[in-house]
Symmetry: C2
Subunit: 209 residues, 2 copies
């Protein structure tokens, strides 16, 4: 029998493997407690080799945060052919379930990122991406033209959903079903509010990304 | 004629004077650029005497932030005898005008506080205080009983208003009148949404203070 040896991987495959292990480990605990040693051990490589791919622990954390956000976005983006209300329902339900299953990671990223500019940038980029998707769908599904103020309202809505979910996860305020129902109602109302204010749609467009 | 000399003040009066100067200076520029030297010069005291009252620059910044938040809360809290819709209108209008007149200070506090736990705590306390006032008024004016989920929704609403206002100040997305109209509509809708979900009000109360 062969002795167990570290499997040789091409650089890109190794990098992807390390990030994937990081995302898996981070889903089980607070974001900043992911240990580079644990990741290296799981990948069966030395700590030194990990630092060959990611010069600092912060670089590794940012790569893991980016991959986790990408996974979240894929999970919460509803099929674009659905009617608006079904998209909202499906997206919010997927979001609540995704972050509830990765509670500590989600909380440490949205609450803890403030002190770390590189992680804050990952969160800000995620908000921008979500806003792009929402503005795109508002135009395609409901015919609402993108505008500066519409983007302002969409970012407000993202902040609402995120903050309410953080509070729900940390303060145990009520059932998942009720939270979902209220967030859905607030979202539908926000869409209706911007539709009613025609000058919102008519204000100068700032682009959708 | 007497030579100009530093006026002697009782310790509490001196402390209040320094904070008041700090709040005035911070309203004209970014929060973290308030210079202790400028404050001491305006008060006509030595830098050393200022540090006698506030051991570190951070201590002084926190005292100024707390005083600024108190001023903001006084400005945006509407008379409690008004009907709900008028309270919402008056509160939002006062909020937009207050922060628009102190743009850099507001932005540096809500955006920059994340990296500084003692300033973050001031912002978090302000959110809690606003939530208390809103929950109190929801009960008194509309008869909506406080609950964990209701507090969750109120904190989501606070995040919405704050984020939308930050975007409006930084991205120039539309007129003040349109922003105010949309925020007002979203707020009224949020109140209606929680009123419609009776189980929101029936979920276990977590207290309002």
């Amino acid at each position: 029998m062969e002795a167990r040896r570290a499997v040789r991987l091409a650089p890109e495959a190794r990098r992807a493997q390390l990030v994937e292990i990081g995302v898996r480990l981070v889903s089980e605990r607070s974001f900043d407690t992911v240990s580079v040693d644990d990741v290296a051990r799981e990948a069966d490589i030395s700590r030194g080799l990990l630092f060959h791919y990611f010069p600092t622990k912060r670089d590794f954390q940012v790569a893991v945060a980016e991959a986790a956000v990408e996974e979240l976005l894929a999970a919460v983006t509803p099929p674009s052919h659905l009617p608006a209300d079904q998209q909202i329902h499906a997206g919010l339900e997927a979001f609540i379930d995704y972050v509830a299953a990765r509670r500590d990671a989600f909380l440490s990223l949205v609450r803890g990122a403030g002190g770390e500019p590189s992680l804050r940038a990952v969160v800000d980029d995620a908000h921008d991406t979500i806003a792009d998707v929402v503005l795109h769908n508002l135009r395609d599904v409901l015919g609402v033209a993108p505008s500066g103020l519409l983007r302002t309202v969409v970012h407000g809505w993202i902040a609402f959903i995120e903050e309410a979910t953080v509070r729900w996860l940390t303060q145990e305020g009520g059932s998942r079903a009720t939270l979902l129902a209220v967030l859905e109602q607030v979202s539908l109302d926000a869409v209706a509010a911007v539709q009613r204010h025609e000058d919102v749609a008519a204000s100068p467009a700032v682009g959708t990304g």
